[in-house]
Symmetry: C2
């Protein structure tokens, strides 16, 4: 099968094999990964190796802490302003799609929001290039890759304001100077592992930013002080992340992930642009290397195309429920062969229709 799911999505086959083994017998200790205490050396070693690999792969400097927290990015939509935004303070937000909009809504529960950039006027088909962040903003929030709309920041805004980025759908897919960000978060279920854990990378200098009385489990500082073991963590999901991080390192790190992503997305976008029956509305320089969002010129052909995909073992090609159209996700674990297979099928379908 070819798995183009947008998330939860494809994982490396060897990670799945190692995971299945650990469910039966973790590290040959005679117990399942699901049955060991989170404060045993067995699991503390898992957590520490995973945190160290994140630091290594992202080349983070000594100011950064790495946390693995319960929940998904949606929890961070709340947790970020709860920790960083005072009632009377203002945060700058970029409004470039469904998820960014949800983040804005949550921030407004805690303080003021200034939408400093929005591409809503053109249905989120591009990213804003020139905008300024007022000096009084506590932080600037953006979504590095818009999973639903198919855009990706290839050049990040330059600002003195601390940047907070939701990197859920392109984390570990490219080389970036991650030290330019004050806080990065990413749900695991795309490039990193299984749903149920979120990576949070924090520049410690950004804490504390608020005098709010923060519930213990939501307080970043508590998690930092506890070495990401404040309460029982999502043990299994952290372990799958560790295996995936090991795989990324073994394959050659972020440089190789980026090279592969560019190969796959170039082939796909070239095919879309060359075939008149397909149409990608996203401005070329903003197109995502992770999620290609496109449409059929003749809407009536869409169901036929989706059926042909299904018959050929290609799943996850349908667009986001509120968007319609088509979406092909090309995360780290998706082999080039899958993109070759679907572009061949697209060409064949175009010839026949």
């Amino acid at each position: 099968m070819h798995n183009f799911n947008s998330g939860p999505s494809i994982l490396p086959q060897e990670v799945l094999a190692q995971t299945a083994n650990a469910v039966i017998d973790f590290n040959n200790i005679g117990l399942s990964i699901l049955e060991i205490g989170h404060r045993t050396n067995w699991f503390v070693d898992v957590m520490e190796e995973a945190r160290a690999l994140v630091k290594e792969l992202m080349q983070l400097n000594e100011h950064y802490e790495v946390l693995f927290l319960h929940g998904g990015a949606t929890t961070q939509f709340m947790q970020v302003p709860m920790n960083l935004l005072d009632n009377n303070a203002t945060a700058a937000y970029c409004d470039n799609g469904v998820w960014g909009s949800k983040a804005i809504k949550e921030a407004s529960v805690f303080g003021h929001v200034n939408v400093v950039a929005s591409s809503k006027d053109k249905n989120y088909t591009y990213l804003n290039k020139n905008f300024t962040v007022p000096q009084d903003c506590t932080y600037l929030h953006l979504t590095s890759n818009n999973t639903v709309e198919g855009t990706q920041w290839h050049q990040f805004p330059t600002t003195n304001t601390p940047i907070v980025a939701d990197m859920s759908s392109d984390i570990f897919s490219r080389e970036i100077n991650f030290n330019l960000f004050s806080l990065i978060y990413a749900g695991a279920q795309k490039n990193m592992g299984a749903a149920g854990v979120t990576l949070v990378v924090i520049n410690k200098n950004i804490l504390p930013k608020t005098n709010r009385n923060i519930p213990a489990i939501m307080n970043y500082q508590n998690h930092i002080d506890a070495g990401s073991l404040l309460n029982t963590p999502p043990v299994f999901a952290v372990y799958v992340t560790l295996l995936t991080l090991r795989w990324i390192k073994k394959e050659g790190g972020l440089a190789i992930m980026q090279k592969r992503a560019e190969q796959k997305s170039s082939l796909l976008y070239q095919t879309i642009d060359e075939l008149p029956i397909f149409h990608c509305p996203i401005q070329k320089e903003d197109r995502s290397n992770m999620n290609a969002v496109f449409y059929m010129q003749d809407e009536n052909l869409q169901n036929l195309f989706l059926n042909v995909c299904k018959e050929n073992g290609m799943i996850g090609v349908k667009g986001y429920r509120t968007m319609g159209g088509l979406r092909i996700s090309m995360y780290n674990a998706l082999p080039l062969e899958s993109v070759v297979a679907i572009t061949d099928l697209m060409k064949d379908f175009a010839n026949k229709n």
Copy 2:
């Protein structure tokens, strides 16, 4: 090995085998449980069966909704008052151990707390029998089984105030009239599955109790409206819970779980009480059938005893980090043979020392 861990803890062997298979190939669809979208029929069926099994096993009436949410009980310490307790309102809390105390602390972030019962005076070695809940209290919160201290409510307080219970460590271990509770929550990693998901059972009539502007991801009503699929749930952890619930039903439901728990705990407490080198400080009628907490009369023997346990493949016997002493957890999946094995070892140890 004999796994007496307090959580994450032992799971049924057949659940582990089924889980490992699903990590490679879920339901023979050619994809891993980790790679399927949460809005596919494949996963929606998992979620719906799990929710229905909870209702069936707990014999809940039509007023109840079943949710599987991210995080552990610690998240619920915050989420319960965030949803139910207004700034100026008061909630009644029972203070019977480490976890209940943490729940009290979190509730006080949101409103007023009235500690209506506490066994702190005798180091949490008993549960309060006669206490009243003032009429003006929004709800009464208690911990049905105190994992760290080794006490368990065998008879719940009678009150007109809605009862909220943390049942993390004895959920599905006994027959209770669950319809007497307004809200029940339980982290999965003891009797129910893998860490990273929490069961929340709500009597809908208790919502909404507050005018607070609740962050979207924390609002119970949002999760109810979305059928427990508000955002990407912890897919894997929900699936392991489903397999465990199926196992509980197949074995004979809560009546059988209770019978086995009573068999195991009777044997263990009888052994402790008969052997002068051991000592259980918990008042007899309040002793937990899940977690037996006890001490050695001669503290110097404790490390020797723990070493003998380890040599005999018995793990998880050490008490909670702040408590010292010994603790043997006997969750649903622990076979009677494991309790027989450790009581034999205790008798042998007593003879030799």
